[in-house]
């Protein structure tokens, strides 16, 4: 069976089930249903605070084959997933599916649980580090399911991803389950990725190291969704959770790419009153924000909102009046956390509100300009951010496909060559985001517009920007790097890449050279 992008995928994948192939970004829309939630009502004088994690695990009665979930707001400083898994393993529970919104290098102990059969399934929007390598080596019994941020919220809300127990790391919680991420040693700001888990899991437990008198304030996730609260010594290492400050890159090539991307934005006509913008926290992405800021100031334009993961740099733009508001699904640095806590214009956004295609309108639908990264791009503009050039998993969509689909202008910014490898290929190893959603690719040596965007191409022709076809851009890189040998894969599928609507856009196969 083939997807609309021509990727060969099986009808049925062992450990995943029947495959619904990707048929286009907006092929699966219309009337949708949310699943009903099972809950145990709480009456006066019921106590929600449990004495220890052990006590909580007794109460939760986690059995073989269940799905348990975690959010990734504590990023590479998260202690909660490891602590919970260690105890579950000690209890002899097997065959668990871990649905974590993202997996980081700190979650390396999960590899052992995968090898021992405690964990046989993994659902995540982004996987990096030792777990990603283990999945790529085929150690996980079932294929990992790689979703998007909006797609995960959709899957949970629709019942497609049923969570038996959600473990919510809570930087601050009260004894009745009101939670926020803005106070406490492990403060991380917005808890946008945890909302669907809290609302739809059969059982929800808040794990905190900062238990405050009732009521906690502000409330990001409310008491009505929380069954239990448990206090532990520490839920995370602040150093791994947020960076102190986010700095604009000094890399001259990244700055050139950023400048060109900003000129593309300007030429597109989208620098206007009420414009909206999103970019990542990476070097080049953030540099685009810095360049855009100059243009917005020069033109005297104030935007409506910036969204996504929020950095101090976007906070500065908010404070300088360049945006009226921020939509924040996660905070990347301390400045963002402070602003999110103190400034009402810096607003909360759940993953569902952010990018779920099956809602009455996600924030990405109102996004004008989106700056995206890429590990590889092909001549059909398909983007891979899931696997590296060696075919091994090193990331995932996160909000990539959500924002690309929603935004009016989706710009991929990337070096034309990374290390000694060309970035543009005939076919990407893994499709994460379909080329239809990508409008333009900006590199330091040339800019390629998706032929479907003839209107944009016409506007860019009026500038001095170095326009090329994507094929020309590919040849330009290959002239310097040569054509790399393709990655050889085996038949074994180690991960299924779901598009935001739950259809399968691609699969990741085990790389032959990886044993």
């Amino acid at each position: 069976m083939k997807t609309i992008l021509g990727r060969e995928i099986p009808d049925y994948i062992e450990g995943y089930g029947h495959v619904r192939p990707f048929q286009g970004a907006f092929s699966d829309v219309g009337v949708k249903t949310r699943t009903a939630v099972k809950l145990t009502s709480v009456i006066p004088n019921d106590q929600k605070v449990l004495s220890s994690l052990e006590d909580a695990l007794d109460k939760l009665n986690i059995t073989d084959g269940m799905t348990i979930s975690f959010h990734h707001h504590l990023r590479n400083g998260d202690y909660v997933l490891n602590k919970v898994m260690e105890r579950l393993a000690a209890r002899g529970v097997k065959d668990l599916t871990v649905a974590a919104s993202s997996i980081f290098p700190i979650h390396a102990p999960l590899v052992e649980h995968i090898e021992s059969g405690v964990v046989t399934g993994l659902v995540a929007n982004y996987i990096s580090g030792p777990v990603a390598e283990a999945v790529s080596r085929g150690k996980l019994k079932k294929p990992a399911i790689m979703q998007t941020h909006g797609g995960r919220a959709r899957a949970i809300e629709s019942g497609e991803l049923h969570i038996d127990v959600a473990f919510l790391a809570a930087p601050t919680a009260d004894n009745y389950g009101n939670i926020n991420g803005v106070y406490g040693d492990a403060a991380c700001g917005s808890l946008g990725y945890a909302v669907a888990d809290a609302e739809y899991a059969d059982k929800t437990i808040a794990i905190t190291d900062h238990l405050v008198p009732y009521p906690a304030y502000p409330i990001e996730i409310s008491q009505v969704f929380i069954d239990y609260i448990v206090q532990i010594d520490s839920i995370g290492d602040p150093k791994g959770i947020v960076s102190g400050t986010t700095r604009i890159t000094k890399d001259p090539v990244a700055l050139i790419i950023a400048k060109r991307a900003t000129e593309v934005i300007k030429a597109s006509g989208l620098v206007r009153e009420g414009m909206s913008f999103q970019t990542g926290a990476g070097g080049t992405s953030l540099a685009v924000a810095a360049e855009l800021k100059k243009i917005m100031q020069h033109e005297g334009v104030a935007g409506s909102f910036a969204s996504g993961g929020i950095t101090g740099y976007l906070v500065e733009m908010l404070e300088e009046g360049l945006f009226r508001s921020l939509f924040d699904v996660q905070c990347f640095d301390l400045k963002a956390i402070e602003s999110y806590r103190d400034n009402p214009a810096h607003q909360f956004m759940s993953a569902s509100m952010y990018g779920n295609p099956h809602t009455k309108g996600a924030v990405v639908n109102n996004l004008d300009i989106m700056i995206l990264g890429a590990t590889e791009i092909d001549t059909d503009f398909n983007v891979n951010v899931t696997t590296g050039s060696n075919g091994v998993i090193m990331g995932g969509s996160g909000g990539h496909s959500d924002t690309a689909a929603g935004s009016k202008l989706a710009i991929v910014v990337t070096n034309l060559m990374k290390a000694r490898l060309p970035i543009i290929k005939d076919k990407v190893i893994t499709v994460t985001t379909p080329g239809d959603s990508i409008d333009v690719v900006v590199t330091e040596r040339g800019i390629a517009v998706n032929p479907q965007r003839g209107d944009l191409l016409e506007k860019l022709k009026m500038t001095n920007l170095p326009l090329m076809t994507i094929g020309e851009l590919k040849l330009l890189a290959e002239k310097i790097t040569g054509v790399p040998k393709g990655v050889e894969t085996s038949e074994k599928i180690v991960a299924v890449v779901e598009y935001r609507d739950g259809s399968v856009i691609d699969v990741v196969r085990k790389v032959s050279s990886v044993s």
């Binding site: 001259p252 090539v253 700055l255 001095n464 002239k479 310097i480």
Partner: protein
Amino acid sequence: MEKLRRTMLFMPGNNPGMLQDAAILGADSIILDLEDAVSLTEKDSARILVREAIKTIDYSQVEVVVRVNPLDTEFGQPDVDMIARVKPDTLLIPKANEEEIKLVDKLLDKIEKEEGYPLGCIKIIALIETALGLENVYNVIQASSRTVGVLLGGEDLTADLGIERTKEGEEIFYARNKVATVCRALKVDAIDTPFTDTNDYEGLEKDTAKAKGLGLTGKSAINPRQIETIHFVFAPTEDELKRALRILDAMEEAEKEGKGCCSLDGKMIDAPVINRAACTVDQGIRLGLISGEGGAR
């Protein structure tokens, strides 16, 4: 039309990544450096790397200048011999004096003949960084018809003079004047010394404006992030361009009417004013700020 040399960007000759990207950083000229940026133990490998870079990488958008080692060292002549054979646009000769320039000129004559290149195709820029070189700069330039410019090396010059090098640069006031005047007299480019604080853009802008104000025609850079500021200073402003275009229009009108001289806004326009306006318009065209027909874009 001759290439502009508003910015000449130094790039270490022993860094493959930087050599690969050198052409796209926006500088008018890149100086692939075999001298100060390269340690003694890497001189030979850097020489080979720069040779291969020139052979392999598309540098057609920029002027490729190679700074060879001083001719009185064991590396200088081998540098010239290996690099000239892959035909860089220009060689930058450090600690330049008449003898060095004459020697390089001779070496290049020989190499161009052996390689079948047009005679004189490889140009020379003299790096003036000694008191002797500065005082003799007129003769240094005259020493070879290949010489297209002078680059003032402020750090080495002040060391040679035994004086302190400061951010304000008053100590190189005379040197800048001298280089600018002689270069203008001999119609070659006068390139200013780099500004070494790569994070001080305000300081860079002031320093560049100072150099431009004294008649230097471009500035060397030691970091790609300095390029934009230098170009900004050296570009004619919109007002300057408009005024220059009006001056040339007025002159044209006067010529049509058979008048020997003319005036604009009540002021007499004489030959120096016209020459300056022509230079400004020429630069505006080269920078793409106005079209060849003179219309502002």
